[in-house]
């Protein structure tokens, strides 16, 4: 099925891209294209012009320093998962990416494109929540940093309204003694998470976990941290996690749709949280 006609531009710099976004209404940035091109072919959204970001080399890089890692918006999910530094320190992100679609999807999909739909069932976003990453956004008034929860709250629509472009993700350096993981129950049709749980777990001592961050996606309307669950599990014995991980999400907060009920999703949060915590703990250096 053919899309409606639209113009196309492939600028070479972020500044040019941002300028183009503001020029005509319904101008949309094109990253990996998975969601956007499907929507256009089905004529579900208006588009007057696509601004293809593929020719902006700066957006493709993954750079690490002492403060953390800056992942360019156009970095492909497969490239991020293959990055040695991230493999060693951001298990939840690597797990989440591995669970996205299939090989071809991950070869084309970008982290910026994923974040443009941060307000939906989104694997990557759950991982970024527990890694406390921030998103770098460029717009007519320059660059700003947005927290992942803020990005989720506004959604892609807020960025588009402000003619802003996601240019990258800053993942803070993960301290030694912290490990993360992501566990997911896939929708068998589209591979999106019916429920996904990301956790980051602090150093364990005497068989106890330290601090813990838990984020859920798919089960709730948008991805979110489960702060009360974090408080309930922090410092608890690893051996007790499975029995303690109950009722982490109230069914009242979970969504019901054609794929699963709120009750089932809330139940999956417990199952997956226990699974993700076990995986993260296994990644921690031995207690000492």
């Amino acid at each position: 099925m053919s899309s409606r006609s639209f113009d196309y531009a492939a600028p070479k710099s972020v500044a040019d891209a941002v300028a183009l976004l503001g020029q005509t209404p319904d101008t949309l940035p094109l990253a990996g294209g998975h969601e956007l091109l499907t929507q256009l072919r089905l004529r579900q959204i208006p588009a007057s012009r696509l601004v293809d970001l593929r020719n902006i080399p700066a957006l493709r890089s993954i750079d690490s320093n002492a403060a953390g890692t800056m992942i360019g918006a156009m970095a492909r999910l497969a490239e991020i998962a293959a990055n040695a530094k991230l493999q060693g320190s951001t298990g939840a992100l690597v797990d989440a990416i591995a669970s996205v679609g299939d090989v071809q999807t991950r070869n084309m999909a970008t982290i910026g494109g994923s974040l443009a739909s941060a307000d939906g069932a989104n694997d990557v976003v759950a991982a970024l929540l527990v890694l406390e990453a921030q998103v770098e956004v460029s717009g007519p008034r320059g660059m700003r940093l947005v927290t992942v929860p803020d990005l989720i709250a506004g959604g892609g629509a807020a960025l588009r309204a402000a003619n802003e472009l996601i240019v990258g993700v800053q993942v803070p350096e993960v301290p030694t003694g912290v490990a993360s993981a992501y566990a997911k129950f896939k929708n068998p049709a589209n591979s999106y998470p019916i429920c996904g749980v990301a956790v980051a777990v602090g150093h364990n001592t005497n068989g106890n976990i330290g601090q813990i961050r838990i984020a859920v996606t798919g089960a709730t309307k948008a991805a979110k941290r489960l702060t009360s669950a974090e408080a309930a599990l922090a410092g608890k014995a690893i051996a007790d996690i499975k029995s303690l991980a109950t009722g982490l999400l109230s069914p009242a907060e979970a969504v019901t749709d054609m794929f699963a009920s709120a009750d089932y999703r809330a139940h999956l949060v417990d199952v997956l949280a226990a699974e993700a915590i076990a995986a993260a703990v296994a990644r921690l250096p031995a207690a000492g």
Partner: protein, 806 residues
């Protein structure tokens, strides 16, 4: 010197000659075709399940850039009739209807006063490009008055339900009864043990890789129409379009069906686009092309199953089944599709006792119209639903009397010495050792495994519930004997034809009426001719899919291609061989019976040095200088084959599943099967058919199911919300073949395309119920999604054993 017997081509593993083009991407499909001057058509479809059309305003669309023509129902009035239904169940009295008035509720090519499902075609736009046509389509304004809708057959039949068609009272298309209802009811009333089940065999959406497509062309000089498109029954479509829809001469319509990327039962039906592209090609004086989308595949292509079934089974306390009664409500959707009503009734009702010898059997099917997509076939249709019901009932019965389900099955199974066996509702099973295949499947399933109780305990320790089930099945195939099909209400000859030529240069050309849509006819049909004539496969060319070639063929469906169409090829090869031998005898000046034919060569008995090849003989027949008295020149024969009866492939499958205690997710850990499709043509193709068939059945068991809202909106309208089986979800399949030749055909072959599908859903469902036996769960409806299984376990925990059934 002794005769050299050539290695048999039939029954051997031959790589498919079609595959290089498919694998290298050079094979051309309908969407790849482009004709000079071609315009593009798009179809505006209803957005409502049920609505009155108050007004259609096409003014803006007609003025949109590039638009050639906009067409609504009023433009085609008088030019084409509604799409016919040619399988009207109900017996000999009801067939040969005078079209269209004999087909109450027949679907108009474009909706006139009402739309009755969300894919109902309302208008078409033809433009220079597909994009321009779509742009213009967005400008068509249709004013609807939304009407109350009904989406399930039991509701549709109730008084006061929304009426789809004025001429169809209570939305009832057909009521069919099979077997002896009085006897079955008596057996149930008097039965020591009675079990019953109400189950919904859910609607499945056909999803071949290639969506449908159609290109119409009209030649002003010759007056000939050419249709190119995804037709798995090109000859039959030619007849139906010429005779019943367009009213044009048969000799002015040619149908060419390019490569087809799968069908599973969808592309043998008539659809609105087919007459439209032909009529428009003539109207506009240029070819017109229409290519469907995936969402079109989902919402306007015939769908499968959708049987609401109630079954009762009676038996003795020691495991002897005494009676079976089934009442089904089939959901036909909005219109009677080409053969949908017959598929939905006879194929279910007559298949209900499956492999069992049950003294009293009754089946009744009500087929009702509703505001959903028209029902057609899906691989295994009718037989899969019947098998699901009977095998669930047998499982429930065995558990109730505390017997091993396998033992109960063996105790009631038709034995080889009972063949041919009248199943008491219309099928006469031809051949096979059902108990032997069943025992073999049991053995295969447990080979290399611990005893079942031990396996269950070991799985429990890993947080899994392990279950086992084995089911036998039989699936009527090889449609069919034409006179018998007429009695079933089929309007059409179900014979197949073959034209076989031996060219003067020695190559052999086989033209078949049968049309492949993935089955590999060029290979397996070539094997038949090569085998009979003793020549290499490479010297046989199989031509198909163009009505200018073979005489006729009803098409490829109902697992009939090889056993029926193949028989025509065998007959043709035998006739050609006989004629060649007569010619050789004439040349050698010896009696015909003294000619030895081997390896494609002929010689006088005892004189192989005098051998003459088939090419040499064919060349002399071509010259025609010196022929036996009465022989016509040229080695070119045409045959027609109409089978004496159906054939009945059978088999057994067994599975071991594990259910996750936390999530309810079902994992198949072992899948075995023994399948018997009679004498095989190409073993590799046969195995592929069985594998694909099983996977199809797994899809229904675990993932698939169309979901409509009460107003007829299709929720599962794309592949992002309709899960199909994926390679990564499919376990290794351990499949064996057995061979019981059918007497109902010269090849001894039975249908292979659907046999894998019919048993798969129920063997999985039974195994899951076995896994969850300790919860008292007796039944879970398909698809067995993790949540449904988990909910059943939860309910059981909450309400005690027995509370788990949902």
């Amino acid at each position: 010197m002794t005769d050299m017997t050539p290695p048999r081509m039939l029954g051997s593993r031959q790589k498919r000659v079609e595959d290089p083009a498919f694998l290298q991407g050079t094979a051309r499909f309908t969407a790849d075709l482009s004709l000079p001057g071609m315009a593009h058509m798009v179809i505006l479809r209803s957005q409502h399940g049920h609505a009155k059309i108050l007004n259609i305003d096409t003014t803006a669309a007609a003025q949109s850039p590039g638009v050639v023509r906009v067409v609504t129902a009023k433009d085609i009035a008088g030019h084409m009739m509604p799409l016919p239904c040619i399988w009207i169940p109900g017996g000999a009295e009801s067939h040969f209807p005078s079209h269209p008035f004999g087909v109450p509720g027949a679907g108009p090519v474009l909706a006139t006063d009402k739309v009755r499902y969300i894919g109902d075609p309302v208008a078409v736009v033809v433009a220079e490009t597909e994009r321009q046509a779509l742009d213009a389509m967005e400008k068509i304004r249709v004013d609807y008055e939304v009407l109350p809708a009904v989406t399930t057959p039991r509701e549709a039949l109730k008084d006061g339900a929304p009426q789809l068609h004025d001429e169809v009272k209570n939305n009832l298309n057909a009521y069919c009864a099979y077997g002896d209802k009085t006897a079955a009811e008596k057996a149930i009333a008097e039965g020591d043990i009675v079990v019953e089940l109400d189950t919904y065999n859910q609607r499945t959406i056909n999803n071949p890789l290639e969506p449908r497509g159609a290109i119409g062309e009209f030649d002003k000089e010759t007056g000939e129409y050419v249709f190119r498109g995804t037709s798995q029954s090109p000859h039959d479509h030619r007849l139906l379009l010429a005779l019943m829809v367009l009213g044009i001469p048969y000799n002015k319509l040619r149908i060419i069906s390019p490569n087809i990327g799968g069908s599973f039962g969808t592309k043998g039906y008539l659809y609105a686009d087919m007459p439209l592209v032909l009529w428009l090609a003539k109207e506009l004086g240029r070819p017109v092309k229409w290519i469907d989308t995936r969402s079109g595949m989902m919402r306007s292509t015939v769908q499968g199953r959708d049987q609401w079934m109630h079954g009762q089974l009676a038996g003795t306390a020691d495991g002897r089944i005494t009676g079976l009664k089934m009442v089904a409500h089939a959901n036909l959707g909005a219109y009677p599709s080409t053969i949908g009503p017959g598929v939905a009734t006879a194929m279910v009702g007559r298949s209900i006792p499956s492999v069992y010898d049950i003294p009293a059997v009754s089946a009744e099917v009500y087929a009702a119209f509703t505001n959903v997509v028209p029902l057609g076939a899906q691989r295994g249709s009718g037989r899969a639903e019947a098998t699901f019901m009977i095998e669930r009932l047998v499982e429930l019965y065995a558990r109730k009397i505390g017997m091993d389900p396998a033992e109960v099955r063996l105790k009631n199974m038709v034995r080889p010495d009972q063949m041919p066996f009248d199943n008491r509702v219309g099928w006469l099973y031809d051949s096979g050792d059902y108990p032997a295949t069943f025992r073999r499947a049991l053995t295969m399933a447990m080979a290399g495994h611990n005893e079942l109780g031990q396996m269950k305990a070991e799985a429990r320790a890993r947080g899994k519930y392990l279950g086992f089930a084995a089911v036998p099945f039989v699936a009527v195939s090889g449609v069919g004997p034409s006179p018998r099909m007429a009695k079933e209400g089929m309007l059409g000859g179900t014979w197949e034809s073959c034209n076989l030529k031996v060219y003067p240069t020695g190559e052999i050309c086989v033209m078949i009426g049968s049309k492949p849509h993935g089955q590999g006819h060029e290979t397996s049909f070539g094997q038949i001719a090569a085998d009979e004539l003793g020549v290499p496969l490479s010297s046989v060319q199989v031509l198909h899919s163009d009505t200018k070639r073979a005489t006729f063929g009803q098409g490829s469906y109902g697992s009939r291609s090889f056993s029926v169409g193949g028989a025509a090829v065998l007959k043709a090869a035998q006739m050609a061989k006989k004629k060649a031998i007569e010619m050789a005898a004439h040349g050698f000046k010896i009696p015909v019976e003294d000619v030895v034919y081997t390896n494609g060569r002929m010689y006088p008995k005892g004189h192989p040095e005098k051998a003459r090849g088939l090419q040499d003989v064919a060349l002399n027949m071509w010259y025609g200088w010196d022929l036996p008295a009465g022989m016509e020149p040229n080695l070119d024969v045409t045959t027609v084959y109409d089978p004496p009866d159906f054939n009945y492939p059978h088999g057994s499958q067994a599975v071991i599943v594990e259910v996750d205690e936390n999530t309810g997710k079902v994992e198949i850990v072992r899948y075995v099967g023994v399948h018997d499709a009679g004498v095989p043509g190409n073993v590799m193709i046969l195995e592929g058919q069985v594998h694909g068939g099983i996977v199809h059945g797994m899809g229904q068991a675990l993932w698939e199911g169309a979901q409509f809202t009460d107003d007829g909106t299709l929720l599962t309208s794309t592949l992002s919300n309709y899960p199909l089986p994926r390679a990564s979800n499919i376990p290794h399949l351990d499949v064996e073949m057995s061979v019981s030749p059918t007497p109902n055909g010269p090849l001894g072959a039975k249908g292979a395309g659907e046999i894998g599908t019919v048993g798969a859903p129920v063997v999985i469902a039974n195994a899951v119920c076995d896994a969850l036996a300790e919860f008292g769960i007796s039944h879970i409806e398909m698809p067995l999604t993790p949540e449904k299984v988990w909910q059943a376990m939860q309910n059981s925990k909450r309400f005690g054993a027995g509370g788990g059934a949902i």
